[in-house]
């Protein structure tokens, strides 16, 4: 499954970069994440619960590895998720670009191989559910970004 | 008091009262087949599409493979075995199926008979299109449906419009 898109964050690029490296923030932003902790340099492990079609709250053990980091411009991710209903494995590339108006444009492309029951029964829904999760996560990150900016501005 | 993790199930099946302690996740189809030994209800897909598992739930057709047994607590279930209590005498619908060769392997047949029992009770003089529509959610791989429709023609004793 190829999933790509753009999203505009309401904040400067460095702050967006910092946000994306913070597992605590990602854990809260990504829908269904029960736990996401750093298990090594540029490596995160955790547990997610995903609902796709007839499969509700399917548990996945996930490992995410960051690579090719060129702060604050770009990085790639290797994703490895495994659960009772199947697996999801792939990579994603993220680039961040400063916008003239103080915002940051994020471009992402990902190619994820899905297998197991989730592929054979949830097929029609995987892409739409993934997009929805992506959008929810990015919007949550954007809210956190603005909260941090406001906090800085008010000097706290 | 049932064992830990189990729930009490009290229901009426084919006119008889039954009580059992069951796991909440036990499917109604498995309860009927294994718990009560009523193996006439067949399981074809376990996701509610093929209709082989159709029973009557308070008189209305329902798919037992996507219901939990505990959902039937306090309700009345009728299975294929209720159409012929002695297991030998065929009711008019069953007789019509035999006359018209409306079954081959017979696996989908109980679900189709239960579906048709309710349908014909409410629609005693259907058109052919209405019969096919009523059957459209029951899959049969053997017959191509034609002799099933003819069986209904025979039992309604009027040519299908």
């Amino acid at each position: 499954m190829i999933l790509s898109g753009t999203f505009t964050f309401n904040g400067p690029r460095q702050k967006v970069w910092d946000l994306l490296q913070d597992p605590g923030v990602l854990a809260k932003a990504l829908p269904g994440t029960e736990r996401l902790t750093m298990s090594g340099p540029d490596r995160y492990e955790g547990v997610m619960k995903v609902s796709i079609g007839p499969m509700t709250a399917a548990k996945f053990d996930v490992t995410v590895t960051l690579a090719d980091k060129q702060p604050p411009e770009r990085f790639t991710l290797q994703i490895d998720g495994k659960g009772g209903v199947g697996f999801a494995r792939g990579s994603a590339a993220v680039t961040l670009q400063e916008q003239g108006d103080g915002g940051t444009a994020m471009d992402y492309t990902s190619d994820v191989q899905i297998g197991g029951r989730i592929a054979s029964v949830g097929q029609r829904l995987i892409e739409s559910v993934s997009r929805m999760m992506m959008r929810q996560a990015l919007e949550a990150l954007d809210r956190e970004l603005r909260a941090r900016i406001d906090a800085d501005a008010s000097g706290s | 008091m049932p064992r830990r993790g189990l729930m009490i199930l009290r229901l009426v099946v084919n006119g008889g009262n039954h009580e059992a302690d069951v796991e909440p996740r036990l499917l109604l189809s498995d309860f009927l087949r294994q718990g009560l030994g009523l193996t006439g209800t067949h399981v074809g897909c376990e996701h509610g599409v093929c209709g082989a598992c159709t029973i009557l739930f308070d008189g209305e057709p329902a798919r037992s493979c996507i219901m939990l047994a505990v959902q039937a607590d306090g309700h009345a279930i009728h299975t294929i075995e209720s159409l012929s209590p002695d297991g030998i005498t065929l009711n008019p619908l069953q007789e019509a199926f035999r006359d018209a060769h409306g079954l081959q392997c017979g696996f989908c047949t109980p679900g189709i008979l239960m579906t048709l029992s309710a349908f014909l009770r409410d629609n005693p003089a259907p058109s052919q299109a209405e019969v096919r529509d009523a059957l459209s959610a029951n899959l049969c791989r053997c017959t191509g449906y034609q002799h099933i429709v003819e069986a209904v023609t025979r039992v309604t004793r009027s040519p299908l419009r």
Binding site: G84, F87, I114, G115, G116, R117, A119, S120, V121, Q123 | E23, L26, G37, T39, G40, T41, H42, V43, G44, C45, E46, H47, V49, C50, A52, I80, E81, L83, S84, G87, I88, L90, Q94, F97, R98, D99, H101, L103, Q104, C105, G106, F107, C108, T109, R132, D133, L135, S136, N138, L139, C140, R141, C142, T143, G144, Y145, Q146, H147, I148, V149
Partner: protein, 778 residues
């Protein structure tokens, strides 16, 4: 006096229906035994990969789990399955047998391949434990596309082979190259014909019980071939055949894949039952069925036909790829059927057919109703249609010009059929069938209206396609007929029954011979304790072969009846009548004896028995035809296509077919209806969709669409009879006939409605929509 035909060719109601209609019929999953354990399998989620580690420790610790087995537990039982059908002796044939092991070892080669078996107190607990098993797979690129599979550098399904080619076969007749040179027109196209799952409503089920005291193994199995299963399993498990009993009770549809053997589950469940000394059952669920039960899939054909300008076929050349899946235990039956059935009812003087079977990382392919015949029919029928268009000849007319006439039989096509005998058409009369089908559907009038039919949003098309089908092949079947002390008759035969009505059809044959009523004949099939010799139900051979064995056994019993009655009644045999369950002297109503009394006399408790007589009124007979006999037919259909939604509705469907003599016309119609429905499913609704990594994306009835009662039209059937010369009744097979030409007729009809070219089956609404758009753009 020879028997009177009262039942053969009559629309007799089925003996078995009462049990099925009341829910009393026993299917394998209905069997309950005390102490029964249940099985779930851990199956590969990857289509291709190295199996690094399988760890069942956590699963074993789960309460309720009795055992967890992996390949390492199997020892010598882990060896690969036998090749079920070795290929026929075609010269130059290349075949690389690669069969599956009961549990994966080293590599996994398709999604769903079994990796571990869990035995537990309930299926629910066993499935819980599946998630406890840790499977470590190093994924490899999956081999999915047939052409890509054969390129250099493609991942290899079997590492010890140089490529993914599983087989290569060439069959030739005459000299196609010379024919091509003489041709006025050559029509060449690439065709794809994809099929799908058999999707019998009953999933597979295996239940095994090892009786440790009697040292006997009983296996209930949803198999189409109980006897070979018994023999093979006995051998694999180190038992003698007599220690193993296989019972195929009522089976909910077969259609081919229930004959695969040995499915891993068929070996592992009995093996575990012996090991644990407990009865064990595995019931497949529908999702598993899409991976774990065999299926048919696609063929890719590059074919051409050389013709004269007046439409006479000079020759056909066909090169094709055949998807055999991850292993090839069933040999080359399907593609060889394709090669043979492509010739159809036509006079094809020169023929060159070449195929390469290709290993892919998908479920194993074995015959599904039709078994490769529809692919061949699609190619030749489409080529004829395209030639007709190019030459400006009517589609029915071009067929007429090429049909083999009734004086051309037996017709030897010189290439080899799946039964290892040369392809010979024994009998047939094709022209009247074609004319009857065309007349019934109103072909001539529809052709006249073609311009009108092709206008508006709802466009109407007519399609007509011919086929010839080899049926009733050997090697043999057997039957034992016994008159019991009650006067009723018992028939035992080795084939299994999955809805074909054997309990009635064989009873009809025997009832006619023995002068009893059909309800008084009890037929036992599918139990190796009752009958031990035979092969199984496949290739449209049940009635022709097992039915003929029943006939032969009954005739032998009739002779014994007459001989004994002659002695008892003191009359000459030719004055005796066998009717109404009695034997009577013609013209002397008081000199009569019932079959029940005769049966008692045939087994005396005292007195001497003359040497050379056998006790009782019982005979066993075997029947093996010289070769298969050719059935044939013509299908015609009218379709209506909505060009805005790309939905196709079949308005009328006509079948004119010839399956020789018919035992029960009601049942034959049922077989045809079911076959046509299956064929329509393949033409328009059904397709197994795999992604580039070999993941099946539609493994449920939500997304794999079977035709419903609103999709299948009423089917008009007409029978014609050219009796088979190979069995006494003159029977040919009909089980697969309905689905063989459906795709070809469908494509032609849609083409006729829309004036486009259809070279691929199935034709989904999506693909049709795009074809309509492309045509509109042109």
């Amino acid at each position: 006096m020879s028997p009177e035909a009262r039942y053969v060719n009559a629309r007799v109601r089925r003996n078995e229906d009462a049990r099925l209609l009341t829910g009393r019929a026993r299917f394998v999953d209905d069997v309950q035994l005390p102490g029964l354990l249940h099985v779930a399998f851990v199956r590969s989620e990857h289509a291709h990969g190295r199996l690094i580690k399988v760890d069942g420790a956590a699963a074993r610790r789960r309460p309720g789990v009795v055992a967890v087995y992996t390949f390492d537990d199997l020892g010598e039982y882990g060896r690969p399955a036998p090749v079920l059908v070795p290929p026929p002796p075609i010269s130059g044939l290349v075949f690389h047998p690669r069969t599956h092991r009961p549990l994966a070892s080293g590599k996994v080669r398709y999604v769903g391949e079994p990796i571990a078996m869990i035995v537990a107190e309930s299926r629910y607990l066993a499935e819980d434990a599946v998630r406890d098993v840790i499977v470590d797979v190093d994924p490899l690129d999956a081999v999915v596309d047939l052409e890509a599979a054969l390129t250099a550098g493609a991942a290899r399904v079997h590492d010890d082979l140089e490529s993914n080619a599983a087989a290569h076969v060439v069959q030739r007749k005459g000299d196609y190259a010379a024919a091509r040179d003489r041709a006025d027109v050559i029509v060449a196209r690439r065709f794809t014909y994809d099929r799908g799952a058999a999707a019998a409503l009953e999933n597979r089920c295996v239940l095994a019980q090892w009786d440790r005291q009697a040292e006997e193994l009983t296996i209930w199995d949803t198999t189409q071939a109980p006897i070979p299963i018994r023999n093979g399993l006995a051998s694999r498990l180190g038992l003698s055949e007599s220690q193993v009993r296989v019972v195929a009770p009522f089976v909910g549809g077969g259609f081919g894949p229930k004959i695969m053997m040995f499915y891993p589950e068929e070996l592992l469940v009995p093996w575990a039952s012996i090991r644990l000394a407990r009865p064990i059952k595995w019931t497949e669920d529908r999702q598993e069925n899409f991976f774990a039960t065999t299926q048919e899939r696609g063929q890719l054909h590059d074919a051409e036909m050389a013709l004269t300008r007046d439409g006479r076929i000079l020759g056909i050349r066909d090169t094709f790829l055949f998807d055999t899946g991850a292993y090839d235990p069933y040999g080359l039956t399907i593609p060889i059927n394709t090669q043979c059935t492509l010739l159809g009812p036509y006079d094809v003087p020169n023929y060159s057919s070449e195929f390469t079977a290709v290993f892919t990382n998908k479920t194993i392919v074995t015959p599904v109703r039709g078994a490769g015949r529809q692919h061949g029919v699609f190619v030749s029928e489409r080529l004829l249609d395209l030639a007709a268009r190019e030459l400006g000849i009517d589609r029915v007319e071009i067929r007429k010009r090429n049909l083999l006439g009734p004086d051309r039989f037996p017709h030897n096509h010189e290439i080899m059929f799946q039964d290892s005998a040369p392809l010979v058409y024994d009998s047939g009369d094709y022209l009247p069938a074609l004319e009857q089908a065309a007349a019934t559907i109103g072909y001539a009038e529809l052709v006249r209206q073609q311009a009108q039919r092709r206008s508006g949003t709802r466009r109407v098309g007519v399609g007509i396609a011919c086929y010839v089908e080899g049926t009733g092949i050997g090697p043999y079947e057997g039957a034992r007929v016994t008159v019991e002390l009650s006067g009723k008759v018992r028939v035992a035969t080795g084939v299994g029954t999955q809805g074909q009505g054997h309990y009635t059809v064989f009873a009809q044959v025997v009832a006619d011979v023995l002068g009893v009523s059909v309800e008084d004949v009890q037929v036992i099939t599918g139990d190796t304790r009752e009958f031990q010799w035979g092969t199984g139900t496949f290739a449209s051979r049940g009635a022709a072969v097992a039915g003929s064995a029943c006939h032969a056994a009954a005739m032998s019993v009739r002779e014994k009846i007459v001989a004994l009655a002659a002695s008892v009644l003191g009359a000459e045999p030719d004055r005796l009548e066998v009717a109404g369950g009695r034997v009577s002297v013609r013209g002397a109503a008081d000199r009569t004896i019932s079959l029940a009394q005769l049966a008692a006399r045939a087994n005396p408790l005292r007195g001497a028995v003359r040497p050379g007589t056998e006790p009782g009124l019982e005979s066993t007979a075997y029947f093996g035809p010289d070769r298969g006999s050719t059935a044939s037919g013509v299908h015609a259909m009218i379709v209506e296509v909505d060009v805005e939604t790309a939905m196709v509705e079949v308005k009328r469907y006509v079948v004119v077919h010839d399956c020789g003599r018919i035992i029960n016309p009601l049942l034959v119609e049922g077989q045809i209806h079911g076959g046509v429905a299956h064929g329509l499913g393949n033409a328009f609704y059904e397709q197994l969709v795999y992604d580039e990594q070999g993941q099946l994306l539609n493994a449920s009835f939500m997304d794999y669409l079977l035709p419903t009662a609103t999709d299948v039209p009423p089917i008009e059937t007409a029978h014609r009879e050219t009796p088979s010369p190979f069995n006494p009744i003159g029977l040919k097979g009909v089980g697969e006939a309905g689905c063989i030409p459906t795709g070809a007729a469908f494509a032609q009809a849609v083409e006729d409605a829309l004036n486009i070219e259809i070279l691929d089956i199935p034709l989904s609404p999506d693909r049709l929509f795009r074809l309509i758009q492309q045509a509109a753009d042109r």
